[in-house]
């Protein structure tokens, strides 16, 4: 216990216990209060630590453990229900009937038949038809240098 209060010991005590006198150690309180009256320089520490005390008072009182436990249990129950309802559901694989196979095969067969019938004419038209060759000759005469 310091016999006489100095600015350093005052600052240390206020730096530990804050600016509220009721939190100061009983055996130092009177000396600290006297020092504060007589030393204007002590006010700077009081202002700084008083501000922190004020800020610490802004912490709101916590809830009881019982309430926290009840809230957590409610939350788990409610949210697991949402999670379960949102989970992707397994769709059963569709079973194909004979009719499905026939209706899928018919358009394919029609395309195949049309290919056999019209392919020679189509190829002739694109690659070797006499009209096409005549047109290409005319085009070449017009544009290409002799």
């Amino acid at each position: 216990m310091p016999k006489t209060m100095t600015l350093e010991s005052f600052n240390q005590l206020v730096g530990s216990y804050g600016a509220e006198a009721h939190r100061w150690p009983d055996d130092h309180r009177a000396a600290m209060q006297d020092f504060l009256q007589s030393q204007p320089s002590a006010q700077a520490t009081m202002g700084r630590e008083g501000k922190l005390d004020e800020w610490l008072d802004r912490r709101l009182e916590a809830a009881s453990d019982g309430l926290q436990a009840r809230l957590m249990a409610d939350m788990r129950e409610q949210l697991s229900a949402i999670e379960a309802s949102d989970a992707p559901k397994q769709m059963p694989a569709p079973s194909l009937t004979r009719r499905d196979y026939i209706s899928a095969a018919l358009p394919l067969a029609a395309c195949f038949l049309a290919g056999i019938i019209f392919a020679p004419d189509a190829l002739d038209l694109v690659l070797g038809g006499p009209d096409i060759l005549a047109s290409l000759d005319l085009f070449a005469d017009e544009l290409l240098p002799n």
Binding site: G18, R58, A63, R70, S80
Partner: protein, 199 residues
């Protein structure tokens, strides 16, 4: 099945989200988001209910109803329409009015305060919630010893010798722990002077 490590990191991830994003996660059924939401807003909601109702059991009942409302409505929450804390304030106020009416059926709505017109109260409540969060975050940065010392000496107003005994340390050691704790709090909170100055 998640391991304890995965759960912790998931909770840490959720605690970085803002309130709107947290509501979206809750709407998708995330229990981690629900956990963080309770931790973030419970003391604020409970404080409002205590202030309006004055009775602990009723305040807890109201707070429980408010959170039930959150789980129920989170999937419909539209980000940007209102602040989550404003909505919580309104839900809490309405629930408190219901409880006051149940207590005394002829209580006038004005006596309990009309939350719809009470914009000043809403703003103050939001600031209180934000400040509470800042203080709790700063306190969370302290070491275990420092947190315990502040809790005992500051919040529980325990005599210094008793606190030192409880923490199994000498009085000068307790003073040193407290001093370092307060210094760290000064540093942590220095950047939030403007927010902490309000109200």
């Amino acid at each position: 099945m998640m391991t304890a490590y995965q759960s912790t990191s998931e909770i840490e991830r959720m605690s970085l989200l803002d309130d709107d994003a947290l509501m979206a996660e809750i709407g998708n059924g995330s229990q981690f988001a629900g956990h963080v939401f309770i931790e973030r807003h419970l003391s604020y909601v409970l404080h409002l209910c205590r202030k309006k109702l004055g009775r602990e059991a009723e305040a807890e009942e109201a707070a429980q109803d408010v959170f039930a409302s959150v789980w129920k409505n989170a999937s419909h929450w539209q980000a940007g329409q209102a602040k989550v804390t404003t909505w919580l304030y309104r839900v809490a106020s309405n629930r408190c009015i219901d409880i006051l009416r149940r207590r005394k059926p002829d209580v006038a709505l004005d006596d309990a305060g009309d939350p719809a017109d009470d914009t000043v109260d809403v703003e103050m409540a939001q600031q209180m919630a934000d400040q509470n969060r800042l203080i709790r975050k700063a306190l969370g940065q302290l070491s275990q010893d420092q947190q315990q010392a502040i809790e005992l000496v500051y919040y529980r107003e325990m005599a210094q010798r008793e606190a030192a005994e409880m923490m199994n340390m000498s009085l000068p050691a307790l003073e040193s722990v407290l001093r370092r704790a307060r210094q760290k709090l000064h540093n942590e909170l220095a950047g939030y002077r403007v927010q902490l100055q309000m109200v």
